[in-house]
Amino acid sequence: MLEVEEQDKFGDHLFASGHTACPGCGQSLAARLVLRAAGRNVIVVNSTGCLEVFSSKYPESAWEVPWLHSLFENTAAVAAGIEAALKINGQLDKVRVIAQGGDGSTADIGLGAISGMFERGHDVLYICYDNEAYMNTGIQRSGLTPYYARTTTSPPGRVSMGNWRPKKDVPQIAVAHEIPYVATASVGYHLDLDRKIRRALSIRGPKYMQIHVPCPLGWGSDPAHTIDIARLAVNTGLYPLYEVEEGETKVQKIPRKVPVEEYLKLQTRFRHLFGKNGGKKELEEIQRIADRNIEKYGLIGK
């Protein structure tokens, strides 16, 4: 039988070691921090993706809470069904329901089911782990891939500088559903992430959270730099951290504006922007996106 490891002494390790994520994986860290904040009394519904695959390699499972995987597209619908069953049994006061998936299943494949879950008002927290491409199937671009990133389906070359479509603003799509709580978080700021999960789970009704998680394999970054890169994305203004509660937006300010190059040059998915064939125009455009975010959310100043 399984030996009891020292993890159990600490009580906050509901996502066990021995999962098969790559070294330096931001998503596995975020999943652990989410469960640490959420505690034992949760039912987790997972969509298809990296997180599902590396945490449930048969016959093993890294989860120490009830955990379900159904399909790529119906995570929110399955979670809604579980919530409805808990409600009719009068157990919704004791157990919280979390639905989670990657950016592909959230922004592209499962968006319809998520919208339906929001619209019907189910008491579910939906978490999107945003690593900005379909990493599990081999780094194809998704609706959340940022401008000019290299993926296997948006390769830079003579006629292209990488992904040429904007990153879909899913948090604002969630806000448009007028749900009680929407937040963005980053794996680089664990205290902020912890607080937002606890806040979200204290609120009744549909909630949406999007967590930025660097992927060393897909982004071509050093595994040791996962946290640094996540923090740089926030401090450049490319990934604004904010929460919208009952229509009111609160932002996490950044101390000073960091040029986007500092974030981009650590990742080989943006290497073509620094090559001898140029990329100056594209870099300026990415800087404009960051500047627009800083202005739109008021990231700098009091």
Partner: protein
């Protein structure tokens, strides 16, 4: 012969999978000199294999450490360094 119905897995059963064998570059060495017990290394470890209960008590469970180096990188007082395992056993 006993047949198990369905695909039965146990909670936390992934712990039988000792991912420490994945390490290629090196492993963290906790110097225990300047540690301020901020817990950042433990909270930043994707494997959840760093433990400690106070200043200068932190260590990594090498059965699971994949050697990514995040802990050494986030330590604010530079009390963790990555060391080659070949040097140690060499």
């Amino acid at each position: 012969m006993k047949i198990t119905l369905g695909t039965v897995t146990h909670p936390g059963g992934s712990r039988v999978n000792k991912t420490g064998s994945w390490r290629t570059a090196g492993k963290p060495h906790f110097l225990h000199q300047r540690c301020i017990a901020c817990d950042l290394c433990a909270l930043s470890c994707p494997e959840g294999c760093i433990f400690g209960t106070g200043q200068k008590t932190y260590y990594a469970n090498e059965d699971y450490c994949k050697g990514c180096g995040i802990c050494a990188n986030v330590c604010p007082v530079e009390d963790i360094e990555m060391v080659s395992e070949e040097d140690e056993h060499g």
